[in-house]
């Protein structure tokens, strides 16, 4: 099978609207959370989120195009363009028949659904749905738009597995390249659910932190007082290429994808398996696929959403899989800073892992105040400040409602 490398990155996150700003935010240990500005949240249980800031779609596309896209698709267009530029592909003539797009979005055009339904319910009962309602709403349209813009005529679709969606996209793109189906992919994910139904829906599940008095410290994975996740939004894009394709065009190589894992909890629609059964299996599957032993992983970017149950079961799974090595490697949850980007989380955290490898720096788990005795103190959770170390390989977990588990292992590129 062919080797697959990462040659371009794009990010639009609550910490910053470029990859550079995102990474700076991660190593500075900044929080991207603040009071909700997207709508009047005064009657909501949670009144804060980790929003993308200062984003104007018309700086990136014309008004007509922007108007036809839900924010989640706008985020896709912008991050994919940044990643292609970063990969030096704007100038390079890509063979469109050998290039594809696999995008991830957990929810798709929720903003569009909400506003169209609202107009309908406020009307006289005569349906006056916008002709762009369906193409704006559907969660596959970002992949379609990207293929149209760049002429990529290879495999094209969107993966939907809730908060694991963009890891599934990366996994599929990786597979098609290593199997020789396609030479190059735009992959990644985007999500834009900081809106009325997004916040109210997760609030109703009691999934969100309600620490309204202090949004910046609300996402506190592994802290004794963690009380739920902080809703985030944004997107991230990666350019994946076969190693041969990248070398032939003399591309800068960030890292190599070593292997991937998939599994299901087969337990509950929203609660993780208490013993981390699916999480254990997915990391084992990824290590086997990568042909790496636990001793070769130096960093795990956990799903770690700051929920009482999820953080516990994931750490149990890490101990199951890594044994004594669990005390040697670094673990961190960058969601402590970005909030939870839902379907875009896997892509955003892939970028974090790749830059951690490139910079030999582990971004921290911020907002640690009180130890939770449930966690073995020998596990290095990288609390509050980044830590420098040689990172040979990093494993990124994302898990989604429905019990979907995904792991992707990135490793330092060596010719």
């Amino acid at each position: 099978m062919r080797r697959v490398v990462v040659t371009g990155l794009g990010a639009l996150t609550p910490l910053g609207n470029t990859v550079k700003e995102y990474w700076e935010g991660l190593v500075q240990g900044r929080s991207g959370a603040g009071p909700i500005t997207r709508f009047d949240a005064s009657k909501y249980r949670t009144r804060f989120a980790a929003e993308v800031k200062g984003f104007d779609p018309e700086n990136h596309m014309d008004r007509k195009e922007a108007r036809k896209m839900d924010p989640y698709a706008q985020y896709a267009m912008v991050t994919a363009q940044d990643a292609l530029l970063d990969a030096g592909l704007e100038e390079f003539k890509v063979n469109g028949e050998r290039a594809g797009v696999i995008w991830g979005s957990g929810i798709g055009g929720l903003y569009t659904v909400y506003h169209e339904f609202k107009n309908f319910f406020e009307g006289d009962g005569v349906p006056k749905f916008n002709p762009f309602f369906v193409p704006k709403m559907i969660s596959d349209i970002a992949a379609g738009y990207l293929s149209i813009r760049y002429g990529f005529r290879g495999p094209n679709y969107t993966t939907v597995s809730a908060c694991a969606s963009s890891n599934n996209a990366i996994i599929d793109a990786f597979n098609y390249i290593r199997w020789g189906v396609t030479d190059l992919f735009i992959t990644g994910g985007s999500e834009a659910a900081v809106n009325e139904p997004g916040v109210a829906g997760f609030n109703a599940m009691k999934a969100l932190s309600e620490r309204n008095e202090d949004p910046a410290t609300a996402s506190r994975p592994f802290d004794l007082d963690r009380d739920g996740f902080v809703l985030g939004e944004g997107g991230a894009a990666l350019i994946l290429e076969s190693l041969d394709h990248a070398l032939a065009r003399d591309a800068r190589i960030y890292a190599e994808i070593a292997g991937v894992g998939l599994s299901a909890d087969a337990h509950h629609i929203t609660a993780p398996h208490p013993e981390g059964l699916g999480a254990t299996l997915v990391m084992r599957n990824a290590l086997r696929d990568a042909n790496l032993s636990p001793s070769e992983i130096d960093y795990i970017n956990v799903h770690g959403t700051s929920t009482p149950l999820g953080d516990l079961s994931e750490i149990k799974a890490i101990q199951n899989v890594f044994g004594e090595d669990a005390y040697r490697l670094n673990v961190s949850s960058t969601k402590s800073m970005t909030g939870h980007l839902l379907g875009a989380a896997g892509a955003a955290e892939a970028v974090a892992c790749i830059l951690a490898i490139v910079n030999n720096t582990v971004p921290p788990t911020i907002n640690h105040f009180t130890d939770d005795p449930a966690f073995d103190p020998r596990i290095n959770l990288t609390f509050n400040t980044p830590q420098g170390r040689t990172i040979r390989a990093a494993l990124s977990n994302t898990f989604g409602f429905g019990g979907h588990n995904t792991s992707v292992i990135f490793k330092a590129y060596q010719a």
């Binding site: 008004r63 108007r67 006056k128 002709p131």
Partner: protein, 78 residues
Amino acid sequence: MSDIANKVRSIIVEKLGVDENEVTPEASFTNDLGADSLDTVELIMEFEKEFSLSIPDDEAENIQTVGQAITYLEANAK
């Protein structure tokens, strides 16, 4: 130019993202102003909303240019 004509032109500028001086009476939505079939449906809906009327499908099919839209709406808007 009538109020209706001005409103029609500004709706077209907004929805199709075109320059105001392109919106001439002879300009065809699809051939000159870059509209696709969905854009055209949206334009008709926007006219219906702005001028509080309902345009039957068979009449909407005959509204292909800026001038045809203005003529139709001047005749039918309340």
